[in-house]
Amino acid sequence: MATSNKINRRPFVATLLAQRGNALVIPGLGSPTWDCSAAGDSPEYLYSWGGMGLAVPTALGVALARPDRRVLALTGDGEMLMGIGSLGVVSAQGAKNLSILVLDNESFGETGRQTGLTSERADLCAVARGFGISRTMHVTEQGKADELASFLFKEEGPCFAVAKIALSEDPWSLPVKDGTAIARRFRIALGVEKA
């Protein structure tokens, strides 16, 4: 059951992001985006308000275009399952600079906490390995954040991790939602577009 998950997502994500170095972060829609925004704004966060399933493909696109930078896709269990095939694409492309973290609360937290498919038998790390992503990490404790950060930002990718997070009531932390503004500042930060 979801209630047995113990990791508190907001401080956990903040601890991870504090150790990202110059990694680019592609959060999925909803809570992962609010988590990034709550940890402190950065033009290197590509906030998302929609397009469920696209966090991993978008992060893959960025990672292939910028092999000089580490890229983290930060998503939830619902979005990961909707785009689960993208793990096969990531594996086939062998993106060495791409890491994926699934914040797994086993629920559709944004829409009323309906039970999700990872609450009982589905094992996302096993799925990732099945697609050929051999470096995986399954985290259930708050105190493992530093170890997870090292895995996500330093190991050769593609890396895939699941953090079993608690269902929580967090204050809203809504970032800018204009897609052109989010894209433009991200491209400026990467030197792709002029300020």
């Binding site: 308000w49 696209l54 978008t58 993208s86 694409v89 897609g179 792709v192």
Partner: protein, 174 residues
């Protein structure tokens, strides 16, 4: 149109001219020649997808990182992309699609017809600019128009290559 000037060769030349270096695809029979040209080119990357909507994420991510890419698919795949097309649209990221039509002209397989007939209206309903090509000689000009509007203007553009160009698959039936 002779073998030497097959539309796929012309489109490939335009792809190279524009420094599009990645093609994402769920293949179609009509795309075989073009996809083989991409695969054989050492400076290009062919990305095989599991579903076409992943392509919207990848091309948007590539553009964010300063690279040009596109998606090639058959018309049935367009149905998989509709919600995902919101991502490039909201960011004004160029999203260039080359779509080979099924279920449109002399189709043998009725299962292809619903999506084939709906491809253009559905794309236009979500704001994608469509560039149909009903004759082999029209494909490259349509591609040029679509690619330049996409990359210069930040639009989603689809080249729709008619089944009259590709040829309907007959499954050996009369």
């Amino acid at each position: 149109m002779t073998e030497e000037t097959h539309w796929s060769d012309e489109v490939f030349r335009e792809i190279k001219k524009r420094e599009i270096d990645t093609v994402c695809t769920i293949p179609d029979g009509g795309l075989t020649r073009l996809l083989n040209l991409v695969k054989a080119d050492r400076d290009m990357r062919l990305i095989t997808l599991t579903t076409e909507e992943e392509g919207m994420g990848i091309v948007t991510g590539q553009w964010l990182g300063g690279k040009r890419s596109m998606i090639a698919m058959q018309s049935s795949g367009v149905g998989n992309c509709i919600n995902a097309l919101g991502l490039p649209a909201v960011m004004r990221a160029p999203c260039l699609m080359l779509v080979t039509m099924r279920g449109q002209w002399g189709e043998f397989n009725p299962w292809q017809v619903q999506m084939g007939q709906a491809t253009r209206p559905v794309l236009e309903a979500v704001g994608v600019k469509c560039f149909p090509a009903d004759d082999p000689k029209d494909v490259a000009p349509a591609f040029v128009g679509a690619a330049d509007l996409a990359f210069q203007g930040g639009f989603s553009c689809a080249v729709l290559v008619s089944q009259q160009v590709i040829g309907a698959k007959g499954f050996g039936q009369k």
